[in-house]
Symmetry: D2
Subunit: 289 residues, 4 copies
């Protein structure tokens, strides 16, 4: 019948359109078949091996960062995260140490031979930041801060891009495209939970986003288990799920004394918990180091 | 200071209240420390071993169900699902074969030595249904159909309770409590995705719900990978994540010829795909049979 | 170009399909151009005049219902709501007086010349209920309890159908179609808030649903300001918005002594507040009685 | 009993805490009882009179903006919006005319005696922008771009702050606090729809946010009916609802020829539709000019 014919044409047209759109993107798997591997001073992300990125929520002092870095080093970990510029809901909450925080990270990185990752929140800070850190993180609240994305796309430094609080996967992919379109293709995508009605967890970890992002793009995909769950008791099980579903790396927060942390005290691991976390993750067979 | 003191008392009060509430529930881990193990004619759910529950979305014919059952049997699987009463958005969509569907399931179960699970949608059908099936499924749309929950609580038959489309974990646990409060404690909880803004998947699989439900209750926890994702290409990765995070069983839909299925044709596996699914799940080490 | 042609055909096909679907529905505006007016013993809903449906959340006693009915009568209102069967999250919360509640409603209706509306939760209670009440309410949790919808479609009594907790407008319209398809076309649709991430209100009042439902269907559309907001301070402003956008009626809860109410105590109006509510709504010019 | 006592103390503690928090904010109604009235070159926002802010989505040419400005002027409207910097999901979509767009707005403002409002997306552009425009708009995607908020707080120019795509009301209020804390208290808050599962509208207009924001803060509250609904057929009914519930102003998009618009073509009004919109809004009695 005519209607049936129309529906067939309709479907063909739909697929044609969709294909068109994703073909155009530089981050698309259609543009580049093989995985992008981001090299972080010798630690590869996206090469099929599981990695862990850990560290305190916020840089608070040289001593605090050193304590975490040493605990990590003892377990063979090199990828250290720590916030110097903290985007906080209230202007009266601790906003981070700023430049001083970056300097602390740099000093610890040199002393302990770590690779440091830190969030930058202002386009005008990007150029300064590349002097101090190894990976520029763009946080969830800034995923569609397009000026920041363009600035990060204009330097030669790996970028860790977090999914927005309620960004669709399509918007997330296009945010990465903003960076690549400016010339920087060393990007890691990080699922960190989305905002839903469910309040048992801080956000809802959208675990299915991992295989979708791996399919649609050629970029490495990470899971931040701390911000997606907001619960210390869920870090280990969600880390296992993340590796089982194909994540290239897992991020989690570690603090020498979470009870006195200046931010996110309820969800950071202390050092003994961190050691147990590594032990159990290794025992599960899902993580090899 | 006085304010500090107040805040301490406030926290204590809060914890006291919360403890009160969850202490009261029969399904709570506080009420029963050890896991409930549901025995399905010899197949245990909740004993620490991973199980698979598979079958067609809807029962369409004796031949169709037999084809799936035989494929399952060949891989050592006994837990067969199939819908006879289908809750559909439109009254003009296929509503299931009803009683005839249950009779087909029963016949196939006898011939192929399977355990059958089927959704019941009306309180008045529960007593009839226990003659034909081994497990009563209560679907997402009926999670707060309290009359149906009470009816299922009044018979001596295991119940597979699915999380509502946008139910909180707390509401889900209380729905199970409705069943237990009527005397039936053989309950399995099934996470099947929640409704969010993200449309890349049919629903958003709330993988964190699995460890939370295992912690809060003593009941077995399942993950329905078909309805949570609505995408055939995500069944295998999400099944791996489900087992890695501690699910007792995974549900997925299999149809001998999905292209002509009367419902959910886009998300059911055909039999070769099913075999590959079992192979790869086994190869991952996350599922042992 | 060929691609452009394809896109044109694609759009035509899309529109054709959409038109098909909505043409098929009996509740569709395409099927019936003029508004359905539901006659509630002389009070019309859907005739262009604004109506108010008020009463206690739950029927607690003859005295309680009488007190509210008298207050309503004094302001010229006849449409009295009150719950006898209460669907509650926990099995241990007050579940309503059941049949006794319906009897109280019937007695008060006779004595005070009111029209009574009450929720029915079990298909098997529908026939019994029509003896006692004037309008069958189907609640949010049961919007896709298709057996209940079919039972309500089989009697000759107006039905007030509430939108599900997280139902799409399309699912809501199809739920109404279940009722009409069984022969009962006296249906009122009630927007009552949807579940979102925002917790400042109990639910998020989807005010745009009102003009969409009026456009897509020929049925009267109501707004329940109590359940959508869950806040007494928002009842008046949201009632104004509801009438301004074209709602045929507004529902709100009134209790002689909300502090001791057995359910929803935080959101019901007491009688002086109710009188102020009517005064201010009338003064706004948006409501005429 | 002890438990009861604890619960009372708990409640008192809870209220104390909440009061503390909102007392601290400069935007809070507790800090300033009377309404803030923002003066836009003689047009007051927040003085109890309803205002309309209209104009094209994006500035495309001098002729286009002039056509809209003349149509507005003919109806007594002076508040002209138009985007020069457009935050777009894809880097390959039209990004706005930038500085040239601001220059066009300034020229039209002078010639037609209009007040111009335009979005700024980069902290480093704020100082430049105040030379050209009368109101700095901060868009939904930048609601938690704290560097941008701080920059806008450091100039002496009114700010129109839009609610984030999925911002809570609390986060929205705190975003305004970022601006005020830097010294600029001329702020207007704009509800523009939130992201939910419902896709019948582009976003879900959270109409209840209006009275909540008016209660919690002393700032004027606007409703953007174009971006909240994304549907031309809903602009008029939602504008009525917005004024009925107490919004100080309504924003909507007008374009001389929406079919060829470079962005948002499906939701802008053409000039005859704009005239009908004004006529019907006036006829409703909810808007007086």
């Amino acid at each position: 019948t005519l209607q049936h014919l129309f529906k067939q044409i309709f479907k063909a047209g739909l697929e044609l359109q969709e294909e068109d759109n994703s073909k155009a993107l530089l981050v698309s798997r259609k543009k580049q078949k093989e995985n992008t591997i981001v090299d972080l001073k010798g630690e590869a992300i996206g090469d099929g091996q599981q990695r862990l990125i850990m560290g305190p929520c916020a840089v608070e002092s040289y001593e605090q960062v050193t304590a975490v870095a040493k605990a990590m080093k003892a377990r063979g970990l090199k990828l250290l995260r720590g916030g110097a510029f903290k985007p906080r809901t209230s202007p009266y909450d601790f906003q981070g140490l700023g430049l001083e925080g970056l300097q602390i990270l740099q000093r610890v990185a040199k002393e302990q031979d770590m690779v440091v990752i830190s969030e930058i929140v202002s386009p005008s800070d990007i150029e300064m930041a590349v002097e101090y850190i190894d990976v520029i993180q763009i946080g969830a609240r800034n995923m569609q801060n397009f000026e920041l994305l363009k600035a990060a796309g204009s330097v030669n430094k790996p970028v860790l891009l977090k999914r927005g609080l309620s960004a669709t996967i399509e918007e997330f992919i296009h945010a990465a495209e903003y960076i690549v379109s400016k010339g920087n293709s060393q990007i890691m995508l990080c699922e960190r939970g989305i905002r839903t009605y469910e309040k048992a967890t801080r956000n809802t970890l959208d675990i299915s986003a991992v295989p979708i992002l791996k399919q649609e793009t050629h970029l490495p995909v990470l899971v931040d288990v701390t911000h997606s769950t907001g619960r210390r008791d869920l870090l280990l099980p969600t880390a296992k799920a993340a590796f089982a579903i194909g994540a290239d790396a897992v991020m989690a927060e570690v603090h020498p004394d979470p009870a006195v942390a200046l931010s996110d005290s309820a969800q950071q691991m202390d050092i003994p918990t961190f050691n147990t976390f590594i032990d159990e993750l290794t025992a599960s067979g899902l993580y090899k180091n």
